[in-house]
């Protein structure tokens, strides 16, 4: 939900002074609707013109909020609303319980850092983070058994627990590691880890840091922090930053953990199926967008480009691009294509750039190149003067200009081109692949000048090679392409 206006906050306060202070801090950032009772807030919610981005609670006694009907209602009916609790002092037990009942998403102690609160709310307003999928309660799928990884620097306790858990069930394997570093090695080897429960205090990397990293590198692994120490600040950071699933206090109880791990496995399956669904939807929808984009590019370029050379060059060029593999389509690419002027601007700007380049190109075919020296000279000129000139270009000059642009985009030097004399002329080939991280038919989040320049250079390479009666061969790879040109020698 990209908000056009300011994000809205539903504020539930007990003390009027707290409300005033909160409004002083955030009135310029958010529209705040304040209520002194749960009922007032509950009455407001169904009638609200826009669903608030966040509910912020400023309780006198944070414990009372375990029974809050407002929080329960938000959890059950408005899963996208971010629930933030700000208390004078938060007890660890309370935090653990709130997390168990999924009543709050973020938790802070006074005095708060307004930057951080603002960032959490703005981020929630901008992203679809709150988007939830119904839990996947289907039985474990076919395939290898999922694994729970327990990370703790006391191997005896872990070993005892693992054996107990193994005896109690047949749904998951139990793995262990004695440090965060070892856990990372386990994760590299075993791709079926679904849940990680880590101790906080360990030599080397701490549990919280490990979970922070997992959140980025393995977003579908469910994260649980455990500790014998009641460090509430660590627990709060783990909730706010690490987005942990649960905080498990020590000592462990096998029966309790079994039920926790079962819940965590359901959560894992939900995350995996949500990810797979969003991936396949993105790919499917982008395939359609790609077709449309291709059709529009052809429509806008056909006449100008193919008219110039008398051959169906545009289609050849687009076919060559399609062989260059880029990163798979993701939701933000779709969003950029649909919610911004990207698709329109892409075709317009590209056609415009190609049109300008064609207008400086000497029309008519020139059969072949004079000799290798002529090519070398033209290439040296193009590399020295990368901006190009507005004067009329011969096909050879245009060809070298295009090569120079493509090499610059790949960070390559002149030596990366291999020139071979053949019986009928000259072979020009790229010794190492040319980088192409994105292209006209790839998922794009943003239109940039280097992209347009690189793409039009490749098209101009097709055009100028044909004008010289040569052949061009492009083979795509992973984010790169190999080029080879054959330029016939001039007959005279």
């Amino acid at each position: 939900m990209a908000t056009s206006g300011a994000a809205e906050i539903l504020l539930r306060y007990d003390d009027d002074q707290d409300r005033q202070h909160f409004e002083t801090l955030f009135a310029s950032d958010f529209v705040i609707h304040a209520f002194a009772t749960d009922q007032g807030a509950l009455d407001y919610l169904p009638s609200a013109a826009t669903i608030p981005t966040a509910i912020v609670l400023l309780p006198n006694r944070a414990d009372d909020y375990l029974e809050s009907s407002l929080l329960a209602r938000a959890r059950d009916h408005h899963p996208r609303i971010l629930k933030i609790l700000i208390g004078d002092a938060i007890a660890l037990n309370l935090l653990v319980k709130l997390l168990d009942h999924q009543l709050v998403d973020r938790c802070f102690e006074q005095p708060v850092n307004p930057d951080v609160i603002r960032s959490h709310v703005l981020t929630a307003a901008l992203t679809r983070e709150g988007q939830t999928f119904s839990p996947d309660t289907s039985e474990a799928h076919e395939g290898p058994k999922p694994a729970i990884l327990i990370v703790d620097d006391e191997p005896t306790a872990t070993r005892y627990l693992s054996r107990q858990l193994e005896r109690m069930q047949d749904e998951f394997r139990v793995l262990s590691a004695i440090s965060a570093e070892e856990a990372q090695l386990v994760l590299q080897k075993d791709s079926d880890v679904a849940v990680v429960m880590t101790d906080q205090r360990m030599p080397g990397m701490h549990g919280k840091e490990l979970l922070d990293e997992l959140r980025q590198s393995h977003p579908t692994i469910v994260r649980i922090l455990t500790s014998a120490w009641g460090e509430v600040d660590v627990a709060m950071d783990a909730v706010n930053e690490g987005r942990i699933f649960r905080y498990q206090k020590k000592p462990w109880n096998a029966a309790e953990l079994l039920s926790l791990f079962r819940k965590a496995l359901v959560q894992h399956r939900t995350l995996v199926s949500a990810r797979d669904r969003s991936r396949s939807i993105a790919e499917q929808q982008f395939a359609e967008l790609r077709q449309q984009r291709r059709a529009r590019l052809l429509e806008h370029l056909n006449e100008r480009v193919d008219g110039f050379t008398g051959e169906p060059i545009t289609a050849d060029f687009l076919d060559a691009l399609a062989t260059v593999r880029t990163l798979p389509a993701q939701p933000p690419h779709l969003r950029a294509s649909r919610e911004t002027a990207l698709e329109h601007d892409l075709v317009r700007d590209f056609a415009g750039m190609v049109g300008r380049q064609l207008s400086t190109l000497q029309p008519g075919h020139v059969h072949g190149i004079q000799n290798r020296q002529a090519f070398d000279q033209a290439l040296a000129n193009a590399l020295e003067n990368p901006a190009g000139t507005s004067e009329t270009q011969t096909p050879l000059m245009a060809l070298c200009q295009a090569l120079a642009t493509l090499m610059k985009a790949s960070g390559l030097e002149r030596s990366a081109l291999e020139l071979t004399r053949t019986e009928s002329g000259l072979m020009v080939a790229s010794a190492s692949p040319l980088h192409m991280y994105s292209h006209l038919l790839a998922p794009i989040t943003r239109l940039s000048r280097p992209l347009l320049e690189q793409q039009s250079a490749l098209l101009m390479l097709f055009v100028s090679t044909r004008l010289l009666a040569g052949d061009i061969d492009v083979t795509g790879g992973d984010q790169c392409l190999r080029l080879s040109l054959h330029l016939p020698a001039r007959a005279d």
């Binding site: 850092n113 703005l122 901008l126 980025q216 590198s217 960070g411 794009i444 989040t445 280097p450």
Partner: protein, 227 residues
């Protein structure tokens, strides 16, 4: 605004709990801008510069060996689109925190797309350097940070300056003329310790952490360059 926790204060707490250093990689086309920025950023001793490049291709080539935790990259690079390069860097190393520097402020629609693409924060070239440094620390553990990027920042330092006492202003002016503490003490007829405590109070009140910030603020103010 006394409840604002400065990034470096939060820093101290995080460092104590076994915090990793901030391993920074910087990709900016222009040397002059890159140097100016790095002079500021490297004043913070938790930051370690592990690599820098002018181009996107060079960044992707070197990134794996440099193992940075934060990549600071310009949106507009000479050879490739900075955002495309950032997306590829994230595909290789998903735990990298990317801070994108845009030429102009981005719209909320665009910001949403960037965040969804895995960018942790965007700072525009219109914003003060302090905002960039603050953001750098907020995103170091993989957090997203969104400041109130579309609003004009309140002239907080200016208001705070007006609230300084006469003596504090006098000390601020002398410090901004780069006079050593001992000379300031001599000139005002007080002890060095007193000057130091004035100095601390001035920094806290104005929200500055380092002398260069005070010098820049005072000189801008005195010569009327700041509105």
């Amino acid at each position: 605004m006394s409840s604002i926790e400065s990034p470096s204060a939060g820093q101290g707490r995080l460092m104590a709990s076994g915090q990793r250093r901030l391993r920074l990689y910087v990709t900016m086309g222009q040397r002059l801008l890159r140097d100016s920025l790095l002079f500021q950023i490297l004043l913070h001793d938790e930051v370690e510069l592990v690599g820098e490049s002018e181009t996107g291709v060079a960044t992707l080539n070197r990134l794996k060996r440099a193992t940075p935790s934060v990549l600071l990259i310009e949106e507009n690079l000479q050879d490739n689109d900075g955002l495309t390069i950032a997306e590829h860097a994230l595909a290789v190393n998903p735990s990298l925190s990317v801070l994108l520097i845009s030429d102009t402020p981005v719209s909320s629609g665009r910001m949403a797309i960037y965040l969804e693409a895995g960018i942790k924060a965007v700072v525009s070239k219109d914003q003060p350097v302090q905002e960039l440094i603050k953001t750098l620390f907020y995103i170091r553990n993989g957090q997203v940070y969104v400041g109130n990027w579309q609003q004009e920042p309140a002239p907080a330092a200016m208001l705070a300056y007006q609230a300084l006492s006469g003596r504090e202003r006098e000390v601020a002016q002398l410090m901004a003329s780069r006079l050593p503490v001992r000379d300031i003490a001599g000139r005002l007829g007080v002890s060095c310790k007193t000057v130091h405590s004035y100095k601390d109070r001035i920094f806290v009140k104005l929200g500055f952490e380092r002398l260069p910030e005070l010098i820049l603020f005072m000189q801008r103010h005195q010569h009327g360059a700041a509105e």
